[in-house]
Amino acid sequence: MAEISGNFLYAAFILYLIATFLFGGSIKDKRGAEEKKQNKWAKFAISVTILGFAAQIGYFITRWIAAGHAPVSNLFEFTTFFGMMLVGAFILIYFLYITPALGLFALPIALLIIAYASMFPREISPLIPALQSDWLHIHVTTAAAGQSILAISFVAAIIYLVKSVEQTQASKRTFWLEVIMFTLVCTIGFVIITSSFAAMDYKANFDWVDKKGVADKQEFNLPALVGPHEGKLIEPDRFEPLVSMPALINAKKLNTVIWSTGAGLVLYGLIRLITRRRVAALIKPIVKNVNLSLLDEISYRSVLIGFPIFTLGALVFAMIWAQVAWTRFWGWDPKEVWALITWLFYAAFLHLRMSKGWQGEKSAWLAVIGFAIMIFNLIFVNLVIAGLHSYA
């Protein structure tokens, strides 16, 4: 069953990839540029997307059966689910506004998220006692649904910015837009590097000393550019670290960050060298036909739809469950606090939209920041700050 489940996920991935190209075709075709009129390409693209979504639901259900619990209990499962919900949210918004351009950006981001997810351990893990509750399914799925609809607002915002930011001369706006592009490229870099070394089955083991002075072992799956505190390489033929980190810093995670950024820099540098243009300038022609005010509306509407769902899942259901499992509905655990921060941020976003001058581009930048906060909560809070939620 677990194998079937993996195949479903693989199929979904391929279908999303195909759909991305189809959406690309649909906006090249001039008939697709006008609102409300889908051309054949767009119809085909959305059908493939739905098929992919169905395949991913197939993955979800079969893995649920195999595991005996909803597959949302570790980083791989949750992040994959987030990717799936992102596609679901895109389908919903697509049928509200019929905008193929949205698919051209939403699907690659969903692809990146799913690829990123599969870099984490994929074994089916059992539930620790705190997770054995129906609230696991209710809380996690609702929170992820809310987040993914909020993420659509980011997708629309990116398209908005790519179109509206003037590329003829360098400015703060082009710089920050490039920062976003660079981050996306780094994610690709992370996926490429991690999966290549995983394919080579690279392993380097270290004896090292942690901050309490206790000797321990650590396995690196990427060549260690930075090694652990007082680290000694066990296999002699492996890459010797250039520097040793102090015990306070997790050398393995830092090493992964360095590799991803490095790979991102190389990729990004190559793109810039070959094309001699900014990445945003490169993709700008793709979005020349989109309607800015419609994108602004989609971005705002996604926040309007996503915010109540997010509140329900990430705060209300979360509090009810926390009261049952952890004896208190709120405990200032980092993940809880960052859910609150996300909520406060989007509350600020909604209030700012009411005042003049915060529509359009400013609002698009805000949507980008909101997404950054959610990703920070997903990745950084889980991997680095690690409180009670560190299993997920």
């Binding site: 677990a2 006692p129 109540p308 009261q323 208190r328 005042s355």
Partner: protein, 549 residues
């Protein structure tokens, strides 16, 4: 202050910007292309009175700018609190001051000195949240009542200037043809618009209730904050921990002796590859090692019968048996008992034999209950042992004297006095694990170790929280309000019939795409020309200028 009488005869409160009935511009000097429709241009206290101190405080808290600033401050402050673990998550064995410095160096020290280790209960954090609460309340009152009045009194026939300056606006010249507005009306009705008509002019309106969404959700938040505040009222909130050994019965702390709990058994279960139902987890178990499956305490709850009289034994009546697991607390009479911690294999008894050191001959054994030791143990005839001193968690202090660190029998030690027929005065022996001493000279007899028994201990949190239902009510009201305001939009379409033209205007508080679709559908079967979005017109015209220039 004077009221403002509009040309249409409607009397508006002082400070009104747009006549509540006909929509004529009453205030603004500058002729903007589009009218500012926020709060219907009604007279808000904060925009009208700005003189006294009270006015200024009111205006401060009613401002959205101030509200957003407070939200952002709360957001940044909350984020700072997650950089390092809060005090409640650090080990309690060292003082926070030492912990933060030794773990995180100078940064930890600064973090601690600034009080960020306890950020969420600091006075300034609570002050920000309190100010946010006030802002929620004031801003809602400032806007809700004028808006409500204005929408209630709105007229059907609107001033030409009002129509023209709506974002969605269109004129259809009649040119001798006549257009049947009934079709439009029917279609709008079908789309659930409420139609009001006056002298052939039409106001179609739907989902006005969505305008109240923000105020409803603010009320929910205020109730939630009040609930959180009430927690500090004595009696509303109890948070205690009780440690119970297997077989032990104790008064449940925080219940004033009303309830007692007995721990019958504690079970820790782990996932087992050998077990058929856990087989799918083999890979994960191999990787991480032991993974806990269940923490469970089988308990019996007792209630005290009658009054507790000091010195007398309390009468207890069994209430129920229950298996407390994580996620399945025992709930009874506002109290809830949660599985939170455990300790396996705590020493419970220790056995010794009294023997002659030379001959190894036994003269009987003792079994000491480590949690309730006796003073004296009778052995074979003529032999007995006094337990002079007992140290459940023994160590030597600086002076080399034995002492106990805690009452938990982690490392028990005893001082025995052994009475035997040949030594009736008794011999003193100090016995600890792997250690014996004879402080008062060489002995003939000794207490030889003869095994231990262990038991598991469970830790349960006792919780009573009478504020929960208030918080829950607040949460539900918030959700209702936020859904009401987000998933519906207040849409209005005005149709004004003039001699040779029909003027249409539309307004919605959110989702312009939606109202345009409604209008398009409504006029589909007529020859009315579709109203334009003047905001987009404006944009494309400026773009055109840029291209031309």
């Amino acid at each position: 202050m004077k009221e403002v009488k509009c040309d249409c005869g409607h009397v508006n409160p002082f400070g009104t910007k747009i006549c509540g009935k006909c929509g004529m511009d009453l205030g603004s000097e500058q002729e903007n292309k589009l009218i500012d429709m926020r709060y219907e241009g009604s007279a808000r206290r904060s925009q009208t009175y700005r003189k006294t101190v009270i006015d200024k405080i009111w205006n401060f808290f009613s401002s959205v700018k101030v509200g957003v600033t407070l939200i952002v401050i709360a957001l940044v402050a909350s984020a700072i609190g997650t950089i390092l673990p809060q005090e409640m998550y650090i080990p309690s064995t060292v003082t926070p001051a030492e912990h933060y410095e030794s773990e995180y160096g100078w940064f930890g020290k600064v973090y601690y000195e600034l009080g960020f280790h306890n950020l969420y209960s600091s006075w300034w954090y609570l002050l920000i949240i309190g100010m946010l609460g006030i802002s929620l309340l004031v801003a809602s009152i400032d806007r809700f009542f004028p808006l409500y009045r204005s929408l209630k009194k709105q007229g059907v026939i609107r001033h030409d200037g009002f129509m023209k300056r709506q974002r969605i606006y269109g004129v259809t010249k009649l040119d001798e043809q006549d257009i049947d507005l009934d079709k439009v009306k029917t279609e709008l009705k079908r789309q659930r618009y409420h139609i009001r008509e006056e002298k052939g002019h039409i106001l179609a309106e739907k989902n006005r209730f969505s305008r109240w969404g923000p105020y409803v959700n603010h009320i929910g938040l205020i109730i939630f904050l009040i609930g959180a505040l009430l927690r500090s009222v004595p009696g509303m909130y109890i948070d205690k921990v009780v440690w119970l050994r297997e077989g032990e019965r104790k008064e449940i702390p925080g219940t004033n002796g009303e309830y007692y709990l007995k721990n019958n058994e504690f079970t820790l279960e782990v996932y087992d590859k050998g077990n058929k139902e856990d087989q799918q987890y083999t890979a994960a178990i191999d990787k991480t090692g032991t993974i806990a499956k269940t923490y469970q305490s089988d308990v019996t709850l007792y209630e005290r019968k009658g009054e507790a009289i000091p010195g007398e034994k309390v009468g207890l009546e069994k209430v129920k048996d229950y298996k407390i697991k994580v996620n399945e607390p025992l709930k009874h009479d506002h109290y809830a008992l949660y599985q939170v911690d455990y300790k396996l294999d705590e020493l419970s008894t220790m056995s010794f034999n009294l023997i002659n050191k030379k001959t190894n001959e036994k003269f009987g054994g003792v079994k000491i209950d480590l949690n309730d030791p006796k003073k004296n143990y009778q052995l074979n005839k003529g032999y007995s042992v006094d337990l002079i001193s007992y140290f459940p968690d023994f160590e030597f202090d600086e002076k080399g004297e034995p002492r106990t660190i805690s009452k938990i029998p982690n490392n028990p030690a005893f001082i025995f006095k052994m009475h035997t027929p040949d030594k009736p005065e008794g011999e003193v022996s100090f016995v600890a694990i792997k250690e014996t001493a004879e402080p008062l000279g060489e002995n003939t007899y000794k207490m030889a170790f003869n095994g231990v028994e262990t038991q598991d201990v469970t830790a349960l949190t006792v919780r009573k929280d009478l504020t929960l239902w208030i918080l829950f009510t607040g949460g539900i009201i918030f959700m209702v309000g936020v859904v009401q305001g987000s998933y519906w939009n207040h849409r209005r379409i005005w149709i004004k019939r003039k001699q040779d033209e029909i003027v249409m205007a539309g307004h919605t508080n959110k989702n312009w795409h939606g109202i345009k679709r409604d209008i398009k559908k409504a006029i589909e079967s007529t020859s009315l020309s579709e109203p334009k979005d003047q905001l987009e017109e404006e944009k494309s015209s400026t773009k055109g200028e840029a291209l031309n220039g």
